[in-house]
Symmetry: C2
Subunit: 195 residues, 2 copies
C-alpha cells in the first residue's frame, strides 16, 4: 500500500535494526484519513469471504480495525489485555508473551460476541514475532468460528510471525512488509501475492 | 443523540445503580456505524472552534475519537496508561485514579504531538467521576494548548465529573447523559443546552 509505505518512510523512526517507531500516525498519534484508506484496502483484500466480525486487540489495533469494520459493515471486537471489573466472567482467554515489553499477559474476549457461526478477520497494527496474532487465533478457534485471515498494517518480514501463522493454514495480508531497518533505512519486500 | 440513547436502552446492561455495561457496542465490541454517527455529532457540536487535535485515552476512547478525527480532518492522540519501551522519554504525564479499577495510573502523551499552537478537543467514552478527563486537561494545559471543550459519549450525570470540569471553565458535551440506573432501568437527563 503506497500511501502507508510513504508515511513510514516520511514519519517512521528507526530506533534500532529491529524497532520501528510509528507513533506519529499509528500507535500514539493517529492519522484518521490514513486509517480509512487502510480500512478500504483490507476490505478489498478480504472481500467475498463472508466475514461477520473483526477481532483485534487493544490499544493500537483498534483504529485500523474500526475503520475496516466501517467499510466492511461488520462489528469489531477488541481483546482486552487484562480483566476489567465490568468485563464478563464468561471469557475466551489466551496467554501472549510480548517481546517488546518482556512480559506475559492474558488476553480475553467475552464469549457473548463470537461463536461458531462467525467468520472472523483478525487484525493488528504490527506483526513481528506473531505472539499476539497467535493468541487471537487461539481465541477465535476456542469460539469455533472460521478464520478468514489476518490483516496486518505493518509487518516486520524479517521476523518469524508470518511463518508461524501460515503453518496453521491461515492467510496473512500485510499492507507494508519491511525487509530491513538496517543503517537507519527502511526497505520493503516487494508484494507478489497481493493485489 | 437519539441513536445512541436507543442503543443504550437496547443493549446496555445495568450491573448496579452506578454501573452501566456497554460492552456490546462501545468498549469491547464496537459498532463502527454508530461510532461514525458519534463522530459526525461531535464535529457539529464543536464546529467553528478551530480545533487542531483530538486528545483521548486508551483503550475505549480511541474508536469514537478516531471517527471524530476523520469527520473533523484532524489528528487524534491517545494518552498511554503506562510507558511502553518505544514511547519517547519526553512526555507530559498526569496521575489518574480509577474508581472502577481502584488503582492509580500515570497517563502520558509525547511532547512531540501537542504544543501551544494547538486547540484541543478532549474526548472519552465515559464521564463519571471525571478523573480521566481531569488528567487529560492537565496534560493539555502542560502543553500550553487551548482546550476547545470535552466530548463525552456517555455521561453518568448523577456523578460529579461534569461539575469538576465546568469549575475549570471548560465546556462539556455528552451525547447521552444518564440521570439514573435505578431499578435496572436507564433514564436520561433532557438536553437543554445542546443541539
Amino acid at each position: 500500500m503506497k500511501a502507508l509505505k510513504e508515511k513510514i518512510q516520511q514519519d517512521g523512526k528507526m530506533l534500532s535494526e529491529s524497532v520501528l517507531k510509528v507513533d506519529a500516525f499509528l500507535n500514539h498519534q493517529i492519522d484518521p484519513q490514513l486509517m480509512k484508506e487502510i480500512g478500504e484496502e483490507f476490505a478489498e483484500r478480504f472481500q467475498g469471504q463472508g466475514i461477520t466480525k473483526i477481532l483485534s486487540i487493544e490499544s493500537s489495533g483498534i483504529a485500523p480495525a474500526v475503520m475496516t469494520g466501517l467499510v466492511m459493515d461488520v462489528p469489531v471486537i477488541f481483546a482486552r489485555k487484562r480483566k476489567s471489573l465490568t468485563l464478563s466472567d464468561d471469557l475466551y482467554t489466551a496467554n501472549v508473551y510480548s517481546y517488546t515489553k518482556h512480559e506475559s499477559n492474558d488476553i480475553s474476549v467475552s464469549r457473548e460476541f463470537i461463536n461458531s457461526g462467525d467468520t472472523i478477520l483478525i487484525m493488528d497494527d504490527f506483526l513481528a514475532n506473531g505472539q499476539a496474532a497467535l493468541g487471537l487465533i487461539d481465541i477465535a478457534q476456542q469460539s469455533g468460528a472460521a478464520i478468514a485471515g489476518i490483516g496486518i498494517v505493518i509487518e516486520k518480514g524479517f521476523q518469524p510471525g508470518r511463518k508461524l501463522i501460515q503453518e496453521r493454514g491461515i492467510q496473512v495480508e500485510s499492507l507494508a512488509n519491511i525487509a530491513s531497518l538496517k543503517n537507519k533505512e527502511v526497505s520493503f519486500f516487494e508484494e507478489v501475492d497481493s493485489k
